[in-house]
Amino acid sequence: MARKRIETASATDLGNVRQYNEDSIAIDADLGVVALADGMGGHRAGEVASAMAAEIVLTGLRHRLPEFRSSTSQHSRLLAVEESINQANKAIWDAAQASATRQGMGTTLAMSVFCNGKVVLGHVGDSRIYRLRNGALRLLTRDDSLLRDQVDIGLITAAEVGDSHNRNLVTQALGVAATVPAHVREDDAVPGDLFLLCSDGLNDMVDDSDIELILNSLAANLPLAAQTLVQTAKDNGGYDNISVIVARVRKPRAVGRWLARVFGRLRAAKAA
C-alpha cells in the first residue's frame, strides 16, 4: 500500500463580503502535490480560471510523475513543474480567447511538489507559500504584486503598506497571455516541516505572527489548524475569499530509515 508522502488538510471559504468563491484547491497526498489558485475576471470567470489551474497542474504532474520521481537531476524536476504550469496557462488563455464572457480571466497559483526530501515550489501572482520549521514561520515566495514592488524599490515603506489601496493589484497571473513567467525553485523538505499555501484572503487579514501562533498551537490537528486560520481571517473582516492548504512532510518509510542507518554505519566504518 502506498504511504502518503504528506499529511494534508485544507479549508476554503467565501469570506463575509463576496458573492462567489473564486479560489480553487487541488490535493493529491499520495502523489505529494498540492495546488491553490485565486481566480479573477467577471461573470464568474475567475472560478473557471482557478479551477482549471489547480486541476491541470495536478493532472500534468500525474503524467510527468514517473520521470519526476526517478529523476536525480534538480533541473528536470523544476522543468516538470514549469511545464505543468505552462500547460495550465495555455489552457486558460485558450479558453479565455474562445469566449467573450471569459476574456481577461486569469488566476494566481501556488503549488508544492514533495519528493524524496525535496519540495519544488511554484507560484505566480500573490498567493503564498509559507513554511513552519522548528516553530518559526517563513515566507518562501515573493508576491507578484504592485505593493511588493513599491516596498522593494523604496517607493513606500513596509509601515505604510496598511495605508495603500493597492493590495489587490497583482503583476502576474496565469491565463492572461500566451506564456507566463512562473517562479519555480527547489528547497529542502525536512520531516515535520509544515507548508502553508494560502490565497491573499488569509495573509491580508491575519498577521504572520498570528498565522505562526495558530500553526504552532494546532500542529497536532491539521484540519483544525486550516479551519482556525480561515475562521480568524473571517473574524478579522473576511473581505475576500480565503483558502488554505497545510501539508506536513512525513517521516520516510521505516525501511528507508533502516537503509539510511545501515549506509550511515557503512560510511562511518569506511571513514574510520
Partner: protein, 224 residues
C-alpha cells in the same frame, strides 16, 4: 477616479480629477496645481499615481506640507485628507477607495519597470504587514490556573489562540473570537471537561466562572 479640490478661506478656487498623471503643486505657473501664496514654494510638492493610490511627496519645501494638521514628507493619500499649503487647503476625495468597493477583487496590473530587473524575483521575501486593518473588537479575558505545572498563574488570553494540557497526550485550545472565547478539543483520546462535563467535538463558548480540565491542568475562565 479621485478628485482634488483647492480652496481658500472656504471658497473653492480650483478643482480637478486625478487619475494616472503626475501632478506638481507649487507657486510656479508651470505646476499643474498653482498656488498663489508666498508661503508656498515654487516647486512645493508632487502627487504621484501608483496603482489605486495617490502618493503625496513634499519636495523639500521651505515651509513644509501638512496633511490633516501633521507635517508629512510622504503620504499615501486617504479619502478626505486635507493638504495645507500656506493659507490654501487642497482636499483629496476618493470615495471608491473610501468604500473599498472592489478593492479586494484581484486585478492585473503592469509591474514597476525597474523592479523585475533588479531583484531576484523568485527569492524568499521579507514579510510585509498584513494590508487590512481589522476593525473587529475582541473581548478581553484570562484564566486562573488552579492545578497543573502552571498552578497559581494567570494566563491572559490576549492572542488569537492559547493551548492547554499536555502536547502529545491531550491538548485543548481557547480561540479568541469577536463574540467570545471558545474552547476546542485539539488532540488526545480524552476530551476536556467543562464544569465536570466532557466537551463534545464542537467548540464551546466559555462563560465566566467555567472550570476547565485538560489533562493535568485545571483552570477557571474569567472575562476582564
Amino acid at each position: 477616479m479621485a478628485k482634488l479640490v483647492l480652496s481658500s478661506g472656504g471658497t473653492v478656487v480650483f478643482q480637478c480629477f486625478v487619475d494616472h498623471e503626475r501632478l506638481a503643486v507649487g507657486r510656479d505657473p508651470t505646476n499643474q496645481i498653482v498656488i498663489d501664496d508666498q508661503a508656498v514654494s515654487r516647486e512645493h510638492a508632487v502627487i504621484l499615481p501608483v496603482g489605486n493610490d495617490h502618493i503625496l511627496e513634499d519636495l523639500a519645501s521651505a515651509n513644509g506640507t501638512l496633511v490633516n494638521g501633521a507635517r508629512v514628507v510622504r503620504r499615501i493619500l486617504q479619502h478626505g485628507d486635507v493638504i495645507e499649503l500656506g493659507s490654501f487647503h487642497l482636499r483629496y476625495l476618493n470615495p471608491k477607495a473610501a468604500t473599498e468597493m472592489d478593492l479586494d477583487r484581484t486585478m492585473l496590473i503592469t509591474g514597476l519597470p525597474d523592479v523585475r530587473a533588479e531583484l531576484r524575483i523568485d527569492d524568499e521575501s521579507s514579510p510585509l504587514r498584513r494590508t487590512r486593518v481589522s476593525r473587529t473588537n475582541f473581548p478581553k479575558g484570562h484564566v486562573h490556573v488552579t492545578a497543573g505545572r502552571r498552578e497559581g498563574s494567570i494566563i491572559w488570553l490576549n492572542h488569537v489562540i492559547a493551548t492547554f494540557g499536555k502536547p502529545g497526550q491531550q491538548l485543548a485550545a481557547i480561540t479568541r473570537r469577536p463574540h467570545g472565547y471558545f474552547l476546542t478539543h485539539v488532540v488526545g483520546r480524552r476530551y476536556p471537561r467543562v464544569n465536570g462535563q466532557p466537551l463534545g467535538s464542537e467548540p464551546r463558548m466559555l462563560r465566566p466562572g467555567d472550570v476547565v480540565q485538560v489533562a493535568d491542568e485545571t483552570f477557571k475562565f474569567a472575562l476582564d
